[in-house]
Symmetry: C2
Subunit: 78 residues, 2 copies
């Protein structure tokens, strides 16, 4: 049984920010977003829920959205 | 043989920023910093060299330095 999602609220804020960017990019479903950008669908879904994302995975998503690390985290109140 | 360090320049900038914070906190050696803050020494050393750090590991270090994600990444030009 996978342990409960990580509970650090900042991880959830990062996930929410990823979701916000995905929706703003016009994708109502994370599956379609992940599929169209060749991201692992299940893993990407966990990222949006606040999983312990690695920097390389985050950078890959930010490159899709063409947003810098500084701009991404400026929108994360943590 | 471990693969070459990850080459994304942004990972190296993150590592350099961690080093900058560590030195500013008065630690000339990363081993002492890691030991005194109960961080795994070898792993922490790799973080400063640009390894693919996870968000939880990064948050743990930022908490030691009492700096937010936004302030940390504002200092990363990537």
């Amino acid at each position: 049984m996978k342990s409960r999602e990580d509970t650090d609220p900042r991880l959830h804020q990062i996930g929410a920010r990823l979701r916000e960017l995905r929706v703003a990019a016009g994708y109502s479903s994370y599956e379609t977003f992940a599929f169209e950008h060749e991201l692992p669908r299940v893993t990407y879904g966990k990222h949006e829920k606040g999983s312990n994302i690695t920097m390389k995975s985050l950078l890959r998503i930010l490159d899709i959205h063409r947003i810098s690390l500084a701009d991404f985290f400026a929108g994360v109140k943590a």
